[in-house]
Amino acid sequence: MYATRTRRARPEPFAFHPGIAERLGLPYMDGQLAFSAAALVAFSIFTLGQATTHDVPGSPYYFVDRQAIYGVLGIIGMYLLTRIDYSRFRELRVGVYTFLCVSVSLVFVFGFAARGSRRAFELPFFSFQPSELGKVLLVLALAGFVIDGARNGSDWQRTVRYLCLGLAPAALVFLQPDLGTSLVYGAITLAVMYVGGVRWTHFAVIGAAFVVLTAAVLVVAPAVGTPVLKGYQEERLTSFTHPSADPADAGYQQNQAKIAIGSGEKTGRGDRATQTRLDFVPERHTDFIFAVIGERYGFLGAALVLSLYALLIWRALRIVTLSKNSYGTLVAGGIAAMLLFQVFVNVGMNLGIMPITGIPLPLMSYGGSSVLATFLAVGVLQSIHMQARLSQKGRFAW
């Protein structure tokens, strides 16, 4: 401890002169985490380049150019966050939380409507969707509140408080309406509470309440004439149980995505891919991009992408265990859960085993807000990793 302070205060004249890598902090970063994130966005750009050439008349690289810009911006953002001590966010938790709630509320006022839902602000160069960034903000703020909560109130009071704090922005997002993202918020809330040590019995009660609520929303509410979900939302949630041949049905999309992926077989159909090239699969550059990968590059390509996600999430979970403090543990746990939930629900939806919820595939799906937010989340993980490494260095180097 003493040595560290001395070095900081007054550098030794013959001390080790750090090289360029050391100055950039690269040795303290998680290389595999950075690699998996960069590889995924690169794969995304490559796929978009092959699959969306004819989507925007006159500009064959419309999606590629933009996704590349988001990727570069994301990597820069990730790096900047890496160099910031994430613990600052704990101090800013109230401000972060307020910003989160205000920004997702503002879309009701200033947002522009797309397909019946207000989710984004129209900015001059791209449309910004605050709820995407909000996922990271929610993790940062909620983890801070959970640390606070460790000191006061009974167990039940704390559980209810966390739930309310997490579900308030989730409800706002749900009203936009954006069912998928609000489910991600829910998953984040539960994960942070889980890592934060909320009792198993409480989770059991929450689980039971969830089942009752789902039944009420899907069965009872429509029956008594006050449906909570919009018709298309309910249709999407339940359609994976009944594939359909009508192009207007949600079940049709899912069926076509399944056919697309299956038809890729082991090595893919490359440019002879028809399902995703000829509009049989909708939203091929966003929600259903995994179907494009499955059809074009077959089991090899799809399994490679899944493996990169496995690597990403494994590194995130590893960072949970490395964190130098409890706040870092909670934040890393929340981000790991966020990534796992999105990957499983999106890929599962492509494979026909999960409902269609409009959750993007992190780093693969086209979209600036999602790519940036995911890179920022990875940046927070990197920060936790770096702080842990620095503190270890401080402790063990001497």
């Binding site: 049989f280 543990t329 494979l351």
Partner: protein, 624 residues
């Protein structure tokens, strides 16, 4: 709570480690599910999904090929094609709004003289067979309607007009029974081997030579396979296969249009149900074949018949669709005597110079068999018996052969009561009554008595249980005329391609040969010649003034409860006939009354050139 927020260093303790381990385990399970599902879809079931994907993205359109033309032996057009405009609806381009959609369909129904319900049902049925393909609402729409729709295109989104080929019959009803009809293939036919490769909506010949020679006439439909996107819209450069339609080959028939016209006109003039056939006795080529009443073959070129048309064809008790020349089942009356005479001579039951006493009645076992009109002809030889049509003479021959089966043997050899091999569908085998046949029926309790001499006496004069038709009789006459060759009657002559090159000639082998003594043949032909053109002959009234020598026999068949049926069979020219003509008319009375004049008209058409030549030489002579 196990969190201690202000502690530095790895914030791990045992309880947290457990939770993180469970979290990690949960993640492993989720990834396991995804990998397994991916493996299932792509590796295990990949082929199935690949097939589905390929099926998804292509649409095939068939362009119908015009059927080949049908010509008579001299190249005169009997069946041609005309293009017709078909009104189609593309369901994908109809308005999405149900009310607008309904309004448009209702308007279309009105324009096509249909109802909204019928239109919807048609669309529903067609879309089940071929999803996303345009539905044909009505074939053969008028030009005025097409112009109207084109001018008001924006009011009828999704309505298209397609050019299709429809059969045209320049001769109207001419040859209706031989030509047959064309219509869409039905579900049972799709399963047949001969229609392999056809799809619902393709047209095939359903009867007549359109059916028999369908594989030459049909042609090959063009096929365009295009790649489509999810909306069924063609993709740019998405043309995968493009095969132009190949028109069908032309079929030339043995029919002589002039003979055919004369026959049909003669039948129509008398207005009685019946049939006629004119055939080359050496080759079996059919020059004319028809049945009355007849029908408009063009009726079947249209998709839907009106109720009145259905009643006039299918539900008509006169059965206009039945080809009586080949599917009729009648006793023949005295025209059968030629067969009886040949059987008796060849089996030794009659000598050429033998004379038989004809007192006008033959009594056998207490039963009287009388001559027609109860005439007594005295002592008659074979030639005279044929000339005056002495029934008692032939009753006697029938009695002589009543249990020997010799009459049946010769009738059978000449083709009575057995398949003829004609290249037309729907021909009937008929029935040649025999001892074995009736005794079998008697054993089974189907009849009240066994075979008796009376049965054979009836058969000898073409009465009783005999069931045959002009076709079989013509073959029998032809066999005698050509000296023993049982020809295969046929209507197909040759197949030409569109440029007139001969692709195939039909010259079916004779069914069989039988040995006929030339003396017997000469005697019988002489008897028939006298019957037609000698003063006492039964049909002298009709043929004595005919300049070409012929050999013909009348027949008056008893067919209770109907009035007598008129028959006439004639071989011309005598003594070396080239053609045989047979005519029968239900309820036509005595043979010379109805059938013989019709036969004469047919011969006049066939010998038109000779007759014109004769007439001009006569004129020259009288001038000289």
């Amino acid at each position: 709570m196990y969190l201690r927020s202000d502690e530095r260093g790895p914030a791990m303790n045992n309880r947290l480690a457990l939770r993180i381990a469970l979290f990690g385990g949960f993640a492993v399970v989720l990834f396991g599910i995804l990998f397994f599902r991916l493996w299932l879809l792509q590796v295990l079931d990949g082929e199935k999904y690949l097939a589905e994907a390929k099926n998804n993205r292509t649409r095939s359109f068939r362009t119908s090929a015009p059927r080949g033309e049908i010509l008579d032996r001299n190249g005169k057009l009997l069946v041609a094609n005309r293009t017709s405009l078909a009104l189609q609806v593309n369901p994908r381009k109809l308005p999405e709004d149900p009310a607008e959609r309904r309004a448009e369909l209702a308007k279309l129904a009105e324009l096509t003289h249909s109802t909204l319900r019928r239109v919807r049902r048609t669309m529903h049925e067609e879309l089940k067979l071929a999803p996303a393909a345009p539905v044909t609402l009505r074939n053969d729409v008028g030009h005025y309607l097409v112009f109207y729709l084109q001018e008001n295109q924006e009011r009828f989104p999704g309505v298209e007009v397609q050019r299709v080929f429809v059969r045209a019959y320049p001769g109207g009803t001419l040859g209706a029974h031989i030509l047959g009809s064309v219509s869409e293939i039905n579900e049972e036919q799709l399963k047949e081997a001969r229609y392999k490769g056809l799809v619902p909506g393709d047209e095939i010949g359903q009867s007549g030579v359109e059916d028999t020679y369908d594989r030459y006439l049909r042609g090959r439909p063009g096929l365009t396979r295009i790649q489509v996107d999810a909306l069924g819209e063609p993709t740019p450069n998405g043309r995968l296969v493009s095969k132009p339609p190949a028109p069908g080959d032309n079929l030339k028939l043995t029919i002589d249009q002039d003979v055919q016209e004369a026959g049909e006109a003669a039948m129509a003039e008398r207005g009685l149900p019946g049939g006629f056939i004119t055939m080359d006795v050496h080759t079996g080529e059919i020059l004319g074949l028809g049945s009355f009443p007849t029908f408009e073959p063009s009726l079947f070129a249209r998709p839907a018949l009106t109720q009145a048309q259905v009643d006039a064809t299918y539900n008509n008790p006169a059965a206009p669709l039945t080809d009586r020349a080949i599917a009729g089942l009648y006793p023949t009356g005295s025209t059968f005597k030629l067969i009886t005479a040949l059987a008796a001579l060849e089996s030794g039951n009659l000598q050429l110079d033998e004379a038989i006493e004809d007192p006008g009645v033959l009594v056998v076992g207490g039963q009287e068999f009388k001559n027609a009109g109860e005439a007594a002809n005295g002592t008659v030889s074979l030639v005279t018996a044929l000339e005056v049509s002495s029934d008692v003479f032939f009753y006697t021959l029938g009695l002589r052969m009543w249990d020997s089966g010799e009459l049946q043997h010769w009738a059978h050899a000449l083709g009575i009561g057995r398949p003829t091999g004609i290249d037309l569908p729907g021909a009937e085998e008929g029935l040649l009554p025999s001892q074995h046949w009736r005794n079998q029926l008697y054993k089974e309790g189907e009849t009240d008595r066994p075979w008796s001499a009376g049965d054979n006496i009836q058969l000898a004069t073409g009465q009783g249980d005999l069931q045959t038709n002009p076709l079989q009789m013509a073959i029998a006459y032809a066999t005698l005329a050509n000296g023993g060759t049982v020809v295969t009657p046929h209507i197909g002559l040759q197949v030409d391609d569109a440029r007139g090159r001969v692709l195939k000639e039909f010259d079916p082998k004779p069914r069989r040969h039988i040995k006929i003594d030339p003396e017997y043949r000469a005697a019988i032909l002489e008897g028939l010649h006298d019957a037609a053109q000698n003063g006492a002959g039964t049909s002298c009234d009709v043929f004595c003034a005919f300049p070409i020598p012929v050999a013909g026999k009348t027949g008056t068949a008893q067919r209770p409860p109907h009035a007598d049926q008129s028959w006439y069979g004639v071989l011309a020219p005598y003594p070396n006939p080239r053609i045989v003509t047979f005519v029968t008319m239900e309820e036509g009375g005595f043979g010379a009354e109805s059938a013989a004049p019709a036969a004469r008209k047919i011969l006049e058409a066939y010998f038109a050139k000779e007759l014109a030549h004769d007439a001009s030489t006569e004129e020259e002579e009288s001038e000289g």
